[in-house]
Symmetry: C2
Subunit: 598 residues, 2 copies
């Protein structure tokens, strides 16, 4: 190595030793001809001092982020000049010789200044990601991620799971998003698809008797980059045979506890569980944030005989904002705007005065009996505000679910240091295809129903006989793991019987021919003694985002894409040459399926 | 879990215990109404016996590869019926109840019969890969691979390397092969390229100060599937800063020793090294197989004044086949055919009789003095055969290099249990572009020279000043690791200075504009204090192939492609629909580089 020691690991015990350090000039100070440099390497910082006139003169050339190598003697700093904030702060290196390994041109943003880096904007940070990563924060996230990988693998290895790579150049596996396509030059007119997940391959591995598989797997979805998504993302993908829901959940909890521990957090297992129905009823969300205990209160029965038109609805629900009665008018107006941005007509409210008197427009419209009982019904105390949503149940609950989060944020009820995990189980097996499409997913199949999880999820045993005659009531043998309001993983017990899989396809309007064309290989595999199996996939980027305490998954990816799928660093995607296009076979006339290539 | 024990782990100590097992029917035997099943799970086999008439009757339904669950009592087998070849062979399970978890249809090939599986052919094995993997051999290879991953990561983690994922959807990085392309729907007319290696990203990570990176990385090359290649393959990719060749080599040896150890082999380090020039001169190959000690003998000087036309050449070399003088005429003819298949005109030879007399056509054509001295010059003894190649040095040596391998095989000189590692260092930095193209590579640049390793490899320090004035003499700061004649890894110290990188591009005929267009981001990065760095990439599939003792890398990949890049299981690649094509943006008119998307 070009060095003998790491800068950040120098200690007083090494005083007197001659060391060679390499790294970057993080900061330079001149004090009467003596030059002090904070030298940074991956371990941290050390102060190196150029006292002797010859090296001090050389050191005058040094600028920020020059890459240098110094040889010098470790010395205790003069009393009073130690830096207790720096692990190496008791010592400095008195430099005898300096070598400039590489110069640096002027930086586009200062690396030691968080605010400056934030100001330049993400686009610039990503364009100079190799500079952004020289800052301790971004670099430490990548190191955290590597530790998390290791922690997860240790758990899985200890349970005799086998890490197996599945293909990237594969066949379309419709799972709710568009596929990225790769033209196959050797079979012009045909395309590979990049996998949206290794779902089918991991099920085939179960059929193969490998029994326990995992992979930190890259997945690809060609979406419109809404929200905080990346065209390529990573999941920790796990599958096991002869297991039921309890086994997968126990394993998942062990993995998560180990990963959180790798980030320095202790979480206790088992995690609580609730049914999907309960999550929707109490929290208005299938990924409830349980760091605060505001809950939805169902008022449908309470207002069953109401004369107030707005509350003559399929569903009326409420959430209480403690102390919210004191909100000024413009704040109450702001809530209306907030609700309208979510597609609602507004957010009805009642203010409970300190004297118990109700105020606000809703209070005037409801009956005397309702006025007398509503505060108690929803658990509101004097000084509180009750927010209501009424109408179609799903969207009303969603609005109240969002409101509880907004209330908690406004009131500072969220313990930022808390980790609130919960399993959400017993989700519906199917949903109306129209709803899936409305939320931007690609609904597989051609019927009124599509799968909530995916087409390979087993119905719960008690719905095995009836899921196709009564799809709306069937529950899936599925489980999602939620942390602080984020879905960080999800899985299910899979279908392993060909007849059941075919019945599920039928519910979704996938006829035998289409099933054979798209998933024939899986149906075939099931016919050879496929074992019962199930698994889970963790959203690895999302988990890292939580552990790192950052806002965007772009912060936890070494080289993320910005909006529109562009990499500001390499400027990918890029035009191709005419020769590349010609060679790739992109323009070959697509042949009908089944017709052989020539 | 649906079971309490693993079949292969049952032992005599468990006699008397009631156990539940799950697995597959590997074999069924009937003995007078009693049914014996070899039940297989991932741990191995156990004999389960259906003695009681009720379960025996049920068990009559069982066929090969039915997936079942049995509850029964572990019993010592009757004396004399133990199976010492089976770890669980002292016991059997007396079944009280049987559940059929899934039936199996008739198998396309028998799983317990190696010869049958071989006979059906690879295409069928891959089409039913989930059955192929139920056989112990194929499954054990995937398990070995997982152990190797772990062993490598343990070494790298212990040395403070950070595992970092680099993008798959990226920009073309010309490295000797065609890129796979992915149309970018959101920026129609542009394409991502799948990476041929993470080379540029790992160098950017070094610029970022991460200092030590690794990744078990998927790579993609759109080649013509010559030889034993896969369109997607895996390399263990490692890069480190402030390191020189010795550091990378020492680390690589530690990794390889750990990986070999994970496969049950002990190899001792350090490995021997030789220069590229020495490898070519002594073995006629840059990846010499050192399991046997046949060497090339240079006879150019010896025949300097020869009258034999064929030997009036730039190079004359020989290899000796011990005992080869006794080869019958048809075998000597077969050598000629063998040589012609390699593009040579033939393989000249001299037979050294037991009496020391030389025979064969060449012997007649050379001078008396040459006849008198040649055997001693090449180290041939009575009864040996001397093979010659003469002409252009590179191809002549390659022919002799191939001949030494063929001789060793014929004579059974290759110790199949040996692991002969060697480093090959000091390769030329550049080669004539025409040669690269002739061997099927895509030569980057437009000059007469192209890079032997790749364009980012540093010249050795002593060639730093002269590599562009005398490209043919410059040596690269590169090192390849060879095992048993296979190149299993290669790396180099990289260029970290912008000026040097630009000079290398210039030698390759890449002008400033093209360099900026293709690698501007890397050149930019070098300008910000890029550190000295270097690394290595191991051909992970190739290493697994060696460790598993199989012939093809298809055996070490869970779901490999067969010839033409087709996956016989999923039938990828496949035609796409007109809607997919429309949406993908494939047919958008390519815009000139730099013009913004609309």
């Amino acid at each position: 190595m070009l060095r003998t020691h790491l800068a950040g690991e120098l200690r007083a015990e090494q005083a007197g030793q001659t060391v060679t350090l390499t790294g970057w000039v993080a900061r330079r100070r001149d004090h009467g001809g003596v030059i002090f440099i904070d030298l940074r390497d991956r371990s941290g910082l050390a102060q190196v001092v150029f006292r002797e006139s010859e090296v001090a003169e050389q050191a005058h050339r040094l600028r920020s982020e020059y890459c240098i190598r110094v040889v010098g003697v470790v010395e205790r700093r003069p009393e009073g000049s130690e830096n207790p904030n720096l692990p190496s702060g008791e010592v400095e290196v008195n430099v005898g010789s300096l070598e400039i390994l590489n110069e640096s041109t002027a930086l586009p943003f200062q690396l030691d200044d968080q605010s400056s880096a934030n100001e330049v904007g993400e686009e610039t940070r990503l364009r100079y990601r190799y500079l952004d990563l020289r800052r301790e924060g971004p670099a430490s996230i990548l190191r955290l991620r590597a530790r998390a990988n290791r922690a997860a693998r240790e758990v899985l290895d200890a349970h005799d799971f086998t890490e197996i790579e599945t293909p990237t150049l594969t066949r379309s596996t419709p799972e709710g998003a568009r596929d990225f396509l790769v033209p196959a030059r050797l079979k012009p007119g045909t395309f590979y698809a990049l996998p949206q997940s290794p779902q089918l391959f991991k099920q085939l591995l179960m059929v193969s008797g490998m029994e326990r598989y995992y992979q930190i797997a890259r997945c690809y979805r060609d979406e419109d980059f809404r929200a905080d998504r990346q065209p390529e993302f990573t999941q920790l993908d796990v599958e096991m045979s002869f297991a039921d829901q309890e086994d997968v959940i126990a394993l998942a909890e062990e993995i998560l506890a180990a990963v959180w521990s790798a980030a320095g957090y202790r979480v206790s297992t088992p995690f609580p569980r609730m049914s999907y129905a309960e999550a929707m009823a109490r929290y208005g969300s299938d990924k409830p944030d349980l760091r605060f205990d505001i809950e939805l209160v169902d008022c449908t029965e309470f207002f069953a005989d109401t004369t107030f038109r707005v509350f003559q609805a399929d569903y009326v629900g409420a959430v209480v904002m403690a102390g919210g009665a004191g909100q000024p008018r413009r704040q109450l107006d702001a809530w209306q705007e907030w609700a309208r941005q979510r597609g609602a007509r507004g957010l009805a409210y009642i203010l409970v005065g300190e004297d118990g008197e109700l105020a606000g427009p809703v209070a005037k419209n409801i009956t005397e009996a309702e006025r007398a009982g509503i505060a108690e019904h929803v658990g509101a105390r004097p000084g509180d505000c009750i927010f209501f949503a009424a109408g179609e149940i799903k969207s009303s609950r969603a609005l109240l679910g969002a409101a509880r989060g907004a209330i908690a944020e406004k009131l500072g009820l969220i313990d930022e240091g808390a980790w609130a995990f919960t399993w959400v189980v017993d989700a519906p097996m199917f949903e109306p295809a129209a709803e899936a499409k409305a939320s931007g997913d690609v609904a597989l199949g051609h019927s009124a129903w599509t799968a909530v999880h995916h087409a390979f999820t087993s119905p719960k045993p008690e719905h095995l006989d009836t899921f196709d005659t009564d799809p709306g009531s069937a529950l899936a043998y599925a489980y999602d793991i939620v942390c602080n309001g984020n879905e960080i993983g999800g899985g299910s017990i899979r279908i392993h019987r060909r007849d059941v899989q075919e019945r599920v396809f039928a519910v979704m309007g996938i006829d035998a021919e289409e099933a054979r064309e798209k998933f024939g290989f899986l149906l075939d595999a099931f016919a050879f003694g496929a074992p019962p199996h199930g698994g889970i996939a963790f959203g690895w980027d999302r988990i890292m985002t939580l552990l790192a305490g950052v806002d965007s998954i772009r912060e936890v990816i070494a080289f993320p894409k910005s909006g529109g799928g562009v990499d500001p660093l390499t400027d990918a995607p890029a035009p191709i040459t005419a020769a590349q296009r010609r060679e790739s076979g992109i323009d070959a006339k697509p042949r009908p399926a089944g017709e052989p290539a020539n």
